[in-house]
């Protein structure tokens, strides 16, 4: 029989971590700015591109969605992994019973939940915005299936991106450095032209190697098995690095 009291206590601790995320002022601010940009672009689509209106709505994760999602992850969700050191509370927290590895995994779990919540909020706002501006424009067949599939792919990419960025942030205990290390390859991927790429050259790795393509709602059709192995090795490798650095700091 599971100990109900212990489960309840763990649940309350998880709620505390989730509340920390939700109370961060940057989180609603980031969501609001993303929605505002989407509203402005939807208005212009309604005015000038009515024939491809719902196709553009389905392609939400291609630019605005993925960029704002990545920004929320880097600016808000990974901050919990360096906040203790910034505020000087790390020594006190390390001295508590559950303040080391248990707290680390709890924060990872809370971050994963927040990532899922962020995707849900952004995609819901996208659909609501698109429908509010043009309720008379007929929704094409297959829009729901296309948008849901792209959203799920973006969620998968976002989870991987969050895990990688949080492992980096925890390993180096510096959010700004983690933002640079994870944000630069994410951003560079947008400007690489896939048409002129050859397999296994450097730009090919930059284009597909850091979750950007998935966060844009697209599967990678160029050597998909290779990329499955690559992403698994990347996430596991960064996790091992994070654990190794924690062991060095006696935070296990």
């Amino acid at each position: 029989m599971p100990d109900v009291g212990a489960v309840e206590q763990k649940g309350q601790k998880m709620i505390v971590e989730l509340k920390r995320y939700l109370r961060a002022p940057l989180y609603p601010l980031g969501l609001a700015i993303s929605v505002l940009i989407r509203v402005v672009l939807t208005y212009m689509d309604m005015k000038h591109r009515e024939d491809t209106y719902w196709e553009i709505a389905a392609d939400y994760w291609d630019t605005v969605g993925s960029a704002s999602f990545a920004l929320i992850i880097l600016a808000v969700l990974i901050h919990q992994f360096s906040k203790d050191k910034e505020t000087g509370a790390i020594t006190v927290i390390n001295s508590t019973r559950d303040g080391r590895i248990k707290l680390y995994f709890r924060r990872l779990a809370a971050g994963v939940i927040m990532t899922v919540l962020t995707v849900a909020i952004l995609s819901l706002c996208n659909v609501v915005t698109a429908y509010c501006f043009a309720p008379d424009v007929p929704v094409p067949d297959g829009f729901t299936r296309m948008f849901v599939s792209r959203t799920l792919i973006a969620l998968l990419g976002g989870l991987g991106f969050f895990l990688a960025a949080s492992f980096v942030c925890d390993a180096i205990s510096n959010q700004m450095a983690a933002m640079s290390i994870c944000g630069l390859p994410f951003g560079l991927s947008f400007i690489i032209n896939v048409i002129v790429l050859d397999k296994f050259e450097f730009e090919w790795f930059v284009r597909y190697g850091f979750f950007t393509e998935l966060m844009r709602g697209r599967l990678i059709y160029s050597q998909p098995v290779f990329w499955c192995v690559w992403y698994a090795v990347l996430i596991i490798g960064l996790f091992v690095l994070s654990i190794y650095k924690r062991k060095e700091r006696k935070q296990l």
């Binding site: 000038h48 901050h79 510096n174 959010q175 700004m176 450095a177 640079s180 290390i181």
Partner: protein
């Protein structure tokens, strides 16, 4: 000078600074390798070198400035040492001007490194042929009417980096102002980075996608924002395209504008720095 060195010591103690240096070096080397063999013969090589700032120089400068400068104005506040600093007789003034001076010197070093490396690496491939020859109008250089030579190739190349430096200073003090207002370096980083990316994206992709008042607002933000000056587009004020012959005579207008903006940013920072906190 001693106080500027103290700011330098603080700057190198930030972990993100070294991450920025490593990533910036990596980006610069990759960009040099990618654009090294884009043109074949000497007259167009100078044209290729004139594009370096637009191709990768501006991005490199933005990245290093945002990473290196974001924390500089709010570091004392983060560590709660600002109160102690402000109790000394000249602490407030000296600290402020040492930060301003350090930021200017840091920006100069970034632009100097970028300019030196890209001019030497590119020029070495064709032996700096025609360096002191006048700009070949047939190569379709920016800002110069076809056939009208205004200055030697190498001099124009170096002059472009001076114009870039003014744009970088504009960005540097903008980032410092943001970090002073927001009191969070991450937020200053995000805002300035997003402003730059959106501006460049508008220049590359969005010019035809906007119309009416939106296009006018976007044009104004592009022309008078730091991104336009860093991409050197905003220095071609009043006219667009390479076929005007009054660029040099009109150049004082955008240079004066950016200098005024820099002074305004410094004054605004001083007002925020010297005001008392609310109780």
């Amino acid at each position: 000078m001693r106080h500027i060195v103290n700011e330098l010591k603080k700057h190198v103690s930030f972990r993100e600074t070294w991450v920025g240096y490593i990533l910036g070096t990596f980006y610069l080397v990759s960009a040099l390798a990618a654009y090294w063999n884009t043109v074949q013969y000497a007259p167009q090589r100078w044209h290729g070198m004139f594009q370096n700032i637009k191709l990768y120089g501006s991005n490199f400068s933005v990245f290093l400035v945002i990473i290196g400068i974001a924390r500089i104005m709010c570091y004392e506040r983060e560590r709660n040492t600002d109160v102690l600093l402000f109790t000394s007789a000249y602490g407030k003034r000296k600290a402020f001007f040492s930060k301003i001076g350090f930021a200017a010197a840091y920006s100069a070093v970034v632009v100097a490194v970028l300019g030196t490396v890209s001019i030497i690496c590119d020029g070495y491939t064709f032996g700096f042929k025609n360096a002191l020859g006048y700009i070949d109008g047939a190569s379709g250089c920016f800002y110069v009417e076809e056939g009208a030579a205004t200055m030697p190739n190498l001099v124009f190349c170096i002059f472009q980096y001076f114009l870039l430096y003014l744009g970088v200073l504009y960005l540097t003090y903008f980032v410092m102002l943001l970090s002073q207002i927001t009191k969070r370096p991450v937020l200053a980083m995000c805002i300035s980075g997003v402003v730059y990316v959106v501006s460049v994206a508008y220049d590359i992709l969005g010019v035809d996608k906007l119309s009416g008042i939106a296009e006018k607002i976007a044009d104004i933000l592009w022309q008078y924002g730091f991104a336009g000056f860093m991409m050197l587009e905003s220095y071609s004020w009043g006219k667009w395209g390479p076929y005007y012959d009054e660029w040099i005579s009109d150049l004082w207008k955008p240079i004066l504008f950016v200098c005024c903006v820099i002074v305004f940013e410094i004054c605004l920072m001083w007002v925020l720095w010297s005001r008392k906190d609310r109780k």
